[in-house]
């Protein structure tokens, strides 16, 4: 793995010049470019490895690392129930457009200790900021905390204060939990190197989540070709009913 890291580091260094504001180079690779999730498993962990390479005049350590992983986006609605005429019914509804279906903030120490609020805001490290950003319409801001709470309990928003492990002052790894009902698509992981409350290096890597089982194939067919899916379901029902009648015929 170390040799692999070294090779990747050379390739990245020779082809990708670091961004102007970066004071350190970061190499960031992942264990599985394509994550295959099987529904009968509880989920899977993608491990991302990184190496920090301080350049000339880079701030001395210790370095802190924040890894932000973002999955495909969806539209969401949060509804609040209210009572009207004795009945409980949905009243207020706030829509969150193109909010990520997966958003994990992993850090090497508690975020509040390593990043000042302006860094958290600028780098979109807070769920509340994400909620405010994606909410359609300015009213109903009161539903933002509920959106964050529900997304967290659904396992869509993940925050791990010790999700990034520093193996040495300049190498780190992050374990990204991918749930078995994760949305298929491209996941973008961004590593931020922070020293003295400032972002001094940044890089990204990506991986693809693909569920390769029958259930997901069914789900894809349901949205990609609804008429065929509907017909197949009806034929399945007719076949099952007919076969059942035949099998149990006296």
């Amino acid at each position: 793995m170390r040799r692999l890291l070294a090779i990747v580091a050379i390739i990245v260094l020779s082809f990708a010049p670091a961004a102007a504001q970066d004071e350190v180079n970061v190499v960031f690779v992942n264990s599985d470019p394509v994550v295959a999730v099987h529904s009968n498993f509880r989920g899977q962990t993608v491990t991302l490895f990184g190496s920090i390479e301080p350049g000339q005049g880079a701030p001395e350590g210790p370095y802190s690392v924040v890894v932000l992983v973002q999955g495909p986006s969806s539209d969401w609605v949060v509804r609040e129930k209210g009572r009207q005429g004795g009945l409980v019914l949905n009243k207020a509804a706030a829509r969150y457009a193109q909010a990520p279906s997966y958003y994990a903030v992993l850090s090497s120490s508690p975020l509040s200790q390593i990043a000042p609020p302006e860094v958290v805001d600028r780098q979109r490290l807070s769920f509340a900021g994400l909620a405010a950003l994606t909410r359609q319409g300015d009213d109903l801001a009161s539903l933002d905390p509920e959106f964050v709470r529900l997304m967290r309990s659904a396992g869509n928003f993940i925050e791990a204060e010790r999700g990034v492990v520093m193996h040495s002052p300049t190498t780190f790894s992050a374990r990204v939990p991918i749930d078995s009902n994760a949305v298929n698509g491209l996941y973008l992981a961004r590593a931020l190197i922070i020293a003295d409350g400032k972002v001094i290096g940044e890089t990204t890597t990506r991986f693809t989540v693909r569920t390769q089982d029958f259930e997901r194939y069914v789900a894809n067919l349901a949205t990609s070709n609804p008429p065929l899916y509907g017909l197949a379901t009806i034929l399945l029902a007719l076949g099952t009913g007919w076969l059942g009648g035949m099998l149990f015929k006296r």
Partner: protein, 338 residues
Amino acid sequence: MPVSGSLTTSRHLLVEPFGLGSILFAAPQMPIYLPIAELSVDVFFLLGIGAAIGFISGIFGVGGGFLLTPMLLFTGVPAPVAVASVTAQVVASSTSGALSYFRRGAMDEKMGVFLVFGGVFGSALGVWIFGLLSAMGQLDLFLSLGYLLLLGSVGTLMFIESLRTLLRRDREKPAVRRLPGQIPWVQRLPLRTRFRKSQLYISVLPVVLIGFVIGIVGALLGIGGGFVLVPALVYILRVPGKVVVGTSLLHLLAVMAVTCFLHAVQTQSVDTILAFCLMVGSVAGAQFGASAGQHLPGERLRILLALLILAIAIRFALGIVIWPEDPFTLTKLGFGQS
């Protein structure tokens, strides 16, 4: 809105006995992922409720959709998925019955065609309203009210009827119910045609209208509607007993197939894997129910069915008046939803 302590306590007491969710999520033995419902459930649980409801429908000769959809709703399957998937289950459970009535000639195909004609339009309207309610976020409330009304009235009528039969049984023979002649307003309608197998010469309008109404209700609530259709055919149209069940099954089969297709295309909430587990369970359960029904005192069991239906109606009533534990819900919008 503040919640008083006593209300919270009573809620637990009242709701927990029906809390199927605890069975569902307690360490599945063989979890299966339902891709449209986005839930992992125990496959034996699904086969089990399919079999139990198939057994009940086999004993009483009812479709079972009106029991199955509520069960799925109580277990936490999202309302659109529960309703749309049960339509496929109803197709499966009515296939073998419809075939056997057809072979015996106990089916009025001509009347079936007119019923289905109305039913298809009703189903299309029902699926459209369904999408509208879903977008408004009031689908759950609508389903609760709809089921409360339907199951409440059917359960009460059935309870009174079977109680009366049970009491009468000891003293005298059950009175043979004699249906009077045709209903005058049905007779006066235009477009009359001859339904040979039903030995009727009536207008096609009430036939199409009945099919239409059952189609709407079926698409909205996820039921075949046989337990409403059979009485309607008997009491309004005077369809004779020997063809009424077969004709009703033909309507259920065709209209539910169309409804399933429309739900698959329009709301995209048919979960084939969920439906398949339910079908397998219910098709097997129905066969055992049908043979068990011949040896069981049907009239006495009917009162139990009535009580079960009333219990489900009460559960729906509680759901719409009791303040929920979490008043906030999160929904992911699917394709084409707004």
